[in-house]
Amino acid sequence: MNRKGGLLIASVLCGWLLAPTSAMALDVTIGYIHWLPDQGPVLSNVTPEPEDAGLRGAELGIADNNATGRFLDQNYVLDSVIASDADGAMAALDGMLESGVDLLVTRVPADTLQAMAKQAGDRALLFNAGAPDDGLRIRECQPNVLHTIPSYAMLTDALAQWLSMRRWREVFLITGPTEQDKAWADSFRRASKRFGLDIIADKPWTFDSDLRRTASKELPAFTQAGDYDAVVVADVRGDFGEYVPFNTWLPRPVVGTQGMGPEAWHRVVEAWGAAQLQNRFRELAGREMNSEDYAAWAAIRSIGTSVTSLSDAGHPAIREHLFSDDFQLAAFKGRKLTYRPWNGQLRQPIPLVHPRGLVATPPLEGFLHPETELDTLGYDRPESDCRIH
């Protein structure tokens, strides 16, 4: 080899050593659209839900992506819109699509999400970080929608698995009046069949009695029944549920949407490096991270993880990657998370928590599945009509 050739190779090698692994600069704009209908008045509003739940998780996801991206010359920007009604959310979508934003995270109700998905068509990939409705995962799946928020079925399966493991199999179910409460209760009824529970009483909470009593006075009488092992509450917006614990006829634990229950995320989760995520979030938002924040964070980290390994930010390539064997999301839940190919749901363990502690993290040992134990939570492939990939 002549001397010149040697020099050339050396200088190329040197340049390559100093350059980041990816030579191409990438700017990735991710849209975030938030619209929540008014939840109506609630009896217990002691700890109101943070209004920016979801948004701050998205911001942390962007910060995490950028912390990685700066070594690879990838820059992430969040374009967020808080809409005041469904039309506003649709208008925000149109605006983003027009300006070329093709990766979007949404925290909107199921029907708005469906309209958005149809509107976006093959122009964008949407991540649902707000609607837990089972219908979106079993019948009305859209090929351009992935779900990072767990479905009601995943949440209630986690709870039912745990009740079954504890052998607290006879339960008293109280369902609130809203559509969400009914949907949650329907999911729980399905879960109770799957995991061998017996709903010995199934009562709607109407509280239209004329007894001039407070909810807490009403509850002991309301929960009179034969024997039961636990009371399960379906009160998604948090209206009456906080009054159920310690006011039941029999001295029994209260689980479900109040008391001890399933969450995508909660401040008591600390294992598997979660303490670091909680710290980062607290520093950014000045409050604790909740399920909506986590879902938005997971969506944006899914995008970041894909862009890192693809060096491509086009939504078709990202979608393909998210469904491939190469994709794995490290998301502080003790195992890698992946997307279900049939309905685009992010598989994930579900922490069961009470306000100051973690009880268990289903899937629990002993509940088996031929593919992955994570698929013991939620609608499995044979139970879903969807085949989006």
């Binding site: 050593l17 100093l18 980041p20 692994t21 995490d64 912390a67 990685t68 070594f71 690879l72 490096g273 670091q276 710290n279 980062r280 980290r301 993880t305 890192t308 390994s309 794995q328 999301l329 490290a330 003790g334 195992r335 890698k336 992955t372 134990e373 994570l374």
Partner: protein, 324 residues
């Protein structure tokens, strides 16, 4: 002043003549704020030492007289005098130190600050902070090559290895590996680096001259779901024959042929095995099992687990003093 110094020297002298002829292993108990001291001849706990909050990474000074301890929740690195078993000093470490590595010059300590996304370099002789290097999200694993040229940091959430030039304290290359890289181990000749990816479930082998990945190792344990196989700690035998890889919540340690990178065996240990260390003669391998709160002892010649030793809550790191 002079007097104080004399007393300290005296105490040190008494200390040195004191305990320990047997081999000793030190284990950091993350949720007990203690170290367990294990006699490696009898495999029994002989002492428990109170240290700072949430002790995780631990390492020995090159002269084996001191143990450095990352007291993560105290935001400091503590210096334990091994003769007296007393904390004699603290080092400025940056926030939330988790793992660290000491340069062969016995002076430069490279500390991964998990919450701040930086690596801090401290001169342990005068406590000067020599550099703070920006790295990816949640820096965790830290290793310095035995020839002293490279410091490698893993950033868990960025899934990268950052290759830091130890002369300039600057990153020269970033290499993307599997999700959540936890630990890096160099071969004795500094030619090969092993890096584990916890969530990726893989170990990545790098040629250090070119900083290129030359091999990826996958693990499969019969009867264990794939997503429970989570590689963390790595230990290499000095003869270049074997690598041991702690596989986290699969509760197994993999035995790998360090020449062919073939997995030879999986040994069942305690629950959530994270870190491991060989004793002086490389006869025994100690592993820390966080969830079961114990240390497993592996007989290297027979490749069998011979004992488990109960220690504190959530044992994290283990080092064995080769001089003792």
């Amino acid at each position: 002043m002079k007097q104080a110094f004399r007393i300290a020297a005296l105490a040190a002298a008494i200390g040195f003549s004191g305990p320990a002829l047997a081999g000793l292993a030190y284990v950091s108990n993350e949720k007990d704020n203690t170290l367990s001291v294990i006699d490696t001849d009898t495999h029994e706990v002989v002492d428990t030492i109170d240290v700072g909050a949430r002790p995780r990474g631990i390492l020995l000074s090159r002269d084996y007289s001191k143990l450095y301890i990352c007291a993560s929740d105290d935001d400091t690195v503590q210096v334990l005098d091994l003769a007296t078993r007393k904390i004699i000093d603290t080092l400025p470490s940056g926030e939330d130190p988790e793992q660290f590595a000491l340069h062969p010059n016995n002076k430069h300590l490279y500390i991964a600050n998990e919450d701040d996304a930086i690596v801090t370099v401290v001169d342990v002789t005068n406590k000067d902070v020599l550099a703070q290097i920006d790295v990816g999200v949640e820096p965790e694993g830290m290793a310095v090559s035995p020839d002293g040229k490279w410091a490698v940091n893993t950033s868990e959430t960025s899934s990268m290895l950052h290759w830091i030039n130890t002369e300039t304290f600057e990153i020269e290359k970033n290499t993307v590996v599997g999700q959540r890289p936890r630990h890096v181990e160099f071969t004795r000749d500094s030619k090969i680096a092993w890096a584990s990816a916890e969530i990726g479930g893989t170990v990545h082998i790098f040629d250090v001259d070119t900083i290129e990945e030359i091999k990826q190792i996958d693990f499969q344990i019969r009867g264990v779901p794939q997503d429970r196989v989570q590689p963390v700690g790595i230990e290499l035998t000095s003869d270049g024959k074997y690598a041991f890889v702690a596989l986290g919540p699969s509760n197994h340690v993999a035995v790998v042929d360090a020449q062919t990178y073939e997995v030879l065996d999986y040994l069942l240990v305690g629950a959530r095995v994270w870190q491991l260390d060989l004793d002086k003669d490389e006869k025994f391998l100690y592993t820390t099992n966080g969830v079961s709160g114990d240390v497993s002892v592996i007989d290297v010649e027979d490749m069998k687990v011979i004992k488990s030793i109960k220690v504190g809550r959530y044992p994290w790191g283990v080092v064995i003093d080769p001089t003792s």
